[in-house]
Amino acid sequence: MGKTRDESNRPLGGSVAHTLPFPRELTPESLALLKKTSPLVVELPYAITYLHSYGQDSPFFAGLTNGVLLGSREPETGYTYGTPRGHGMYSGEETEWVRLPDQGIVHAFTVCHFGSEEFLAETPFVLALIEFEGVNTLFLARLRGVQPEKASLDWIGMKVRARYLRNSQLKPTDVYFVPA
């Protein structure tokens, strides 16, 4: 579903209108003609600041700030999640936190040349699902240190290692991966 990034630079706003065409006299004929009016489209800005809670996932973000990548594990079975979750998908039991390896391999990837408004300025960027030895599920992260214009299926299977932002933003992008 996309336009190219260049189109995002197109200004949305137009002139401010102080009057609009409208019949001077309201007669049955002029009222009937109102059905031929083209739609009036206006801009309505809308902004929100959420007090978003990471809830039971909070230690993961604290871990990233401290240069530690955390996953979670079902205590009974040892099934380990590369993206943590507070309760196991299979047992329904509370999971325990585990430290994940700093190295993994690329399981799948893409290069985004376009995206949601929040990330447009960052394009092109690489998304990758990372696979870790001994971990049953994957982790979504940005992959850096590769050339976006040279995307290749050969990137799948590439060994990568985690790096951490020096100044944490308390987001999952506090960790990213680079070729090992």
Partner: protein, 454 residues
């Protein structure tokens, strides 16, 4: 459960932007179209309706909460019962199935399922942001939330796993855009070549703009009835086309929202829980799958959609579909991306897992009688997205699944020429067909089988 019939349907013109009407006006357009097709006055039909189900995905697009209640009011359906259904891209498919449940259970005899979305109300990049908020906002969205990106990751794995090619994906785009040339409700019919698809703007590698469905404004309405409801409609003068279209089977399933959480299961688990009846009964297919697992394939991983397979199996068993490619005359499936059409071929059992790419380029899913400009080695067997699909009809999310239901109904009724002004897209002997919808990265999926009542 009682028998349920799809007695009518209507679709608004899908377009990039429909500023001429608000969402209530768009729903009214599809509603009136469905009612007039039944040969009834709108007021008389509305009196007969017992209740409704409303379908729209995002409160953000219309910037209106309780929009379903407002559509209900605008249609003159108050104070009849109604409920809003939401499930991402599968919203319309889920809405159809909720309306089916209402009639099948005996709660209602005549139920209207209506859906809409007005995606032009924000710029495309903001619309993509709204859609991406339907991914985990702790772990997925902040990394670069963008559904095309998520699907692109799924297809890079599919390509790596099975050798699927971008040229095979382009065949889907060419087919669906060409089909849409004969569907006046579609947003963008066109003739394209593989080169056109590959040289259009790269959005998320390897998906180009022509691999991706369209943002749309649109609405769709389906009317479902029990035997009693049908009698009541016809006693009031409704001209319900024959053959009657019966809902033969419904299936719905779910999977983890986060792609990263999808399991990677072994062969035995796949065969026990997820294989189609056709796959379970064939030694050749079982041997093929053993070979895949021997080479490291795991199911569903991020390349396949387990929810689609579970929903299909559920619907097929109810409808008595044992060999989907043979038993279904056509399928309207959820081609949000060319790659997702290829994934759905496999999930719906039209071909084996791993063979979706070659299947896309084989010819079996194309319409006869249309020159696609492609060298297709096989004859059409089960046209997929004869309407043009989401890629060319447009994807007004809450309306989409119902739009597919309407087109599927018209196929089974044999009335495509009546509605499209040309019989080019009428599938011959379309006695039974399916439609499929899809949310998230395969998070909710629905499959519904319609057939001509005997």
């Amino acid at each position: 459960m009682r028998p349920v019939y799809v007695v009518g349907g209507g679709v608004s013109k899908f377009a990039k932007a429909r500023p001429d009407k608000n969402f209530q006006g768009l729903v009214k357009e599809a509603y009136d179209s469905a009612v007039h097709d039944l040969g009834l006055e709108v007021g008389r039909f509305t009196e007969l309706v017992d209740g409704s189900v409303a379908s729209y995905f995002s409160d953000h697009f219309a910037r209106q909460l309780m929009a379903g209640a407002m559509a209900q009011d605008y249609l003159g359906l108050c104070p009849k019962p109604s409920v809003r259904v939401e499930g991402g891209g599968a919203t319309g498919g889920l809405c159809f199935q909720e309306a089916w449940k209402a009639v099948a259970s005996g709660f209602l005899d005549i139920c209207v399922a209506y859906g809409f979305e007005t995606e032009s109300r924000v710029e495309t990049w903001k619309g993509n942001e709204f859609i991406a908020l339907a991914s985990d906002v702790n772990f997925d969205y902040p990394v670069g939330g963008f559904y095309t990106g998520y699907y692109a990751m799924m297809v890079t794995r599919h390509m790596k796993e099975f050798g699927t090619t971008v040229a095979q994906m382009a065949h889907v785009s060419i087919k669906n855009h060409a089909n849409a040339l004969y569907n006046p409700y579609s947003q963008k019919g066109a003739r394209y070549t593989v080169a056109d698809v590959r040289t259009s703007a790269m959005v998320a590698w390897p998906l180009t703009r022509l691999d991706i469905c369209l943002m749309s404004d649109g609405s769709a309405v389906v009317v479902l009835a029990s035997d009693d409801g049908l009698r009541r409609l016809e006693a009031s003068g409704a001209k319900v086309p024959r053959p009657l279209v019966r809902v033969a089977g419904v299936g719905c399933a779910t999977d983890a929202m986060r792609l990263a959480d999808r399991p990677h299961l072994d062969y035995d688990t796949f065969m026990r829980l997820y294989a189609t009846d056709e796959e379970k009964s064939s030694e050749e297919i079982k041997a093929y799958y053993r070979g895949l697992w021997d080479r490291g394939f795991r199911y569903p991983g991020v390349h396949s959609c387990r929810a689609g397979r579970v929903a299909a199996n559920m619907a097929y068993r109810a409808a008595g579909v044992s060999s989907p490619l043979r038993d279904l005359a056509f399928v309207e499936l959820y081609d949000a991306y060319t790659s997702s059409e290829i994934q759905a071929y496999e999930d719906l059992g039209l071909c084996r897992y791993g063979e979706g790419g070659p299947f896309a380029a084989a010819g079996k899913t194309f319409m006869p009688g249309i020159d696609y400009g492609l060298d297709l080695p096989e004859r059409p067997a089960c046209p997929v997205n004869p309407s043009g699909g989401l890629i060319a009809c447009g994807h007004a999310i809450g309306a989409t699944g119902l739009m597919q239901a309407v087109f599927a109904t018209w196929q089974v009724q044999g009335r495509i020429a009546h509605h499209f002004g040309s019989g080019t897209l009428q599938v011959a002997n379309a006695r039974r067909g399916a439609f499929h919808s899809h949310a998230g990265t395969g998070t909710y999926e629905t499959v519904t089988v319609l057939e001509a009542a005997s």
